[in-house]
């Protein structure tokens, strides 16, 4: 349970998953933020209406998957590092997962690293497709990983030890 371990439950993850139809169209933001905290930069960062307006700063973020085009701008703005981009259309067997990254050691583009799940367990070897700077000054870096399609909802980090 999230409050005891820091690991969101499969049920929580399932509940925020965009529709299969939407996923088939291309990249989309996945927002793993499950606690009402006074925070709203995800919403203010998106200029496309990808997040529904916050009535109260403590609201949980809610996405409008049809308006979101998966551009990834919000990824670098979220102080909780809770926003990811999943693109299931990358290939027959692989998906792209974009994660925020705040470690000074950046993996090389094209390199193979361990993809970690929400527990920090090694889930699969993944390829680092791109390493980008966040459009936000001093924001988190964004790593786009090529992952096995069935792991697109498991892999949320890479090992920082390689």
């Amino acid at each position: 349970m999230l409050e005891r371990t820091g690991i969101p439950t499969p049920k929580q993850i399932e509940a925020i998953k965009p529709s299969g139809e939407r996923l088939a169209k291309g990249p989309v933001a996945i927002v793993e933020c499950f606690q009402e905290i006074p925070c709203d930069p995800c919403y203010t960062a998106c200029k496309r209406g990808g997040f529904l307006p916050f009535e109260d700063i403590n609201d949980l973020p809610k996405t409008d998957d049809e308006k979101c085009n998966g551009c990834g701008i919000c990824v670098g703005f979220c102080p909780g590092l809770a926003v990811f981009i999943v693109d299931e259309t990358y290939s027959e067997t692989e998906a792209l997962v974009t994660i925020p990254w705040e470690f000074s050691r950046l993996p090389a583009e094209g390199s193979q690293v361990w993809g970690l799940d929400r527990e920090g367990k090694e889930a699969a070897r993944v390829t680092v497709k791109t390493v980008r700077k966040s459009p936000k000054k001093n924001g988190a870096h964004m790593l786009t990983l090529i992952v096995p399609k069935e792991k697109a909802y498991d892999i949320r980090s890479i090992s920082h030890k390689e």
């Binding site: 005891r4 820091g6 606690q35 709203d40 109260d56 700063i57 703005f77 979220c78 909780g80 705040e102």
Partner: protein
């Protein structure tokens, strides 16, 4: 003797905003800070902050400190005294300050105390072994002095500070073997907890430290599960091989000056210990003495800044500055505070403030 309208003690987010707000209304301000730099806790915070645009959300703490410090530096109405400690309060309202062995007093018409808080400690067998630190000390070592405290760390406390310092240890290339928390639930924002968990750091709720072991310095820590009566469960002991144990079990407001000044105080657990009774404008029971930030109740930099604003605006108003737009500005700030505190994570601070205002009614 120095003279000023408003004297602000402590240049963390609360004090910086208080100084800026009072000066913005036209008051002359002296800002006293015992460190050689401005920013308080913010100088150590390399992570992005929560909150909303008004409180620089999504900006890294250290940069928020820099923005505020620059504004203060550029403000002609604010005189900054760094490396200067406020030592005492005299009956005639002067404040004694000391800088590099030189002693002086500051005559002031209003005083804003924004001294922040100090870390709590935890007592267990061998808790004085070298290698056992407060989380704040570790953060200062790493992020201010660039020194790593050791190689393998166990963290005690899964509040925001414990979890964030664990993350910063990972960023510095240090192993964090576990975060140990006595409560059954993680106190930190869960998004913070998730980000250290997915780097492989287990968060052990309902666990406590039984003892530290080592001859010259820390070598091992024995931990165990605890039951709902806070008793260790036999047979659940585990030994962690670590050379650093980092303790992050809360903060206590630094209130000596307020006691000295005769402000009415109350012990309110939800606010972190003894705090000065105060009204919604941050004025204590002694007129023209104000508080803001962690010294008035342990909370967050976001709230500290807004409280500082309220205190600075009101202090200036009491001295006759900025009467035209005071109401408008103070109401907006108070609304911001209410918004920050409205959600479920604001429950503790709301409960604490309710007690504080009740105590205030009894005391009056």
């Amino acid at each position: 003797m120095l003279k000023t309208d408003v004297l602000v003690i402590g240049a963390g987010p609360a004090g910086l905003k208080a100084a800026l707000s009072a000066a913005g209304q036209g008051a002359e301000v002296i800002l006293v800070e015992r460190d050689p730099f401005l920013g308080g806790q913010l100088v150590k915070q390399t992570h992005m902050f929560f909150g909303s645009k008004e409180q620089y959300a999504s900006e890294r703490g250290i940069n928020i400190g820099k923005i505020l410090a620059r504004d203060v530096d550029e403000n002609e109405k604010i005189r900054i005294l760094k490396d200067t400690t406020a030592l005492g309060y005299y009956e005639d309202k002067r404040v004694a300050i000391e800088s590099q062995g030189k002693f002086e007093t500051v005559d002031n018409k209003a005083l804003i105390v924004t001294t922040g808080a100090q870390e709590n400690t935890l007592v267990f067998p061998n808790c004085d072994l070298p290698g056992i630190y407060g989380a704040g000390a570790v953060q200062t070592l790493m992020n201010v002095h660039g020194v790593v405290p050791g190689n393998k760390v166990a963290m005690v406390g899964a509040g925001n500070i414990g979890v964030i310092v664990s993350y910063q240890l990972l960023q510095a290339g240090i192993d964090v073997v576990a975060i140990i928390e006595a409560l059954p639930k993680i106190g930190a924002y869960l998004v913070h907890a998730s980000k250290v968990r997915r780097m492989g750091v287990p968060i052990l709720t309902s666990h406590t430290v039984i003892e530290a072991q080592g001859t010259e310095r820390l070598e091992r820590v024995v931990i165990a599960k605890i039951d709902d009566k806070w008793q260790p469960v036999p047979g659940t002991e585990q030994t962690l091989e670590v050379d650093v144990l980092c303790v992050s079990v809360g903060l206590t407001p630094l209130t000596e000056l307020l006691f000295m000044a005769g402000c009415r105080m109350a012990h309110i657990g939800e606010l972190g210990g003894h705090v000065a009774l105060r009204d919604k404008n941050m004025e204590t029971s002694v007129s023209n003495i104000f508080v803001a930030g962690d010294v008035s109740g342990i909370e967050e930099a976001s709230a500290a800044m807004v409280e500082g604003q309220v205190a600075g605006l009101t202090a200036a108003r009491n001295l006759g500055y900025g009467l035209e737009d005071y109401e408008e500005k103070v109401t907006a700030a108070q609304r911001e505070l209410d918004n920050l505190r409205r959600g479920p994570v604001g429950g503790k601070i709301r409960a604490g403030l309710e007690k504080l205002y009740k105590e205030g009614e009894v005391a009056v």
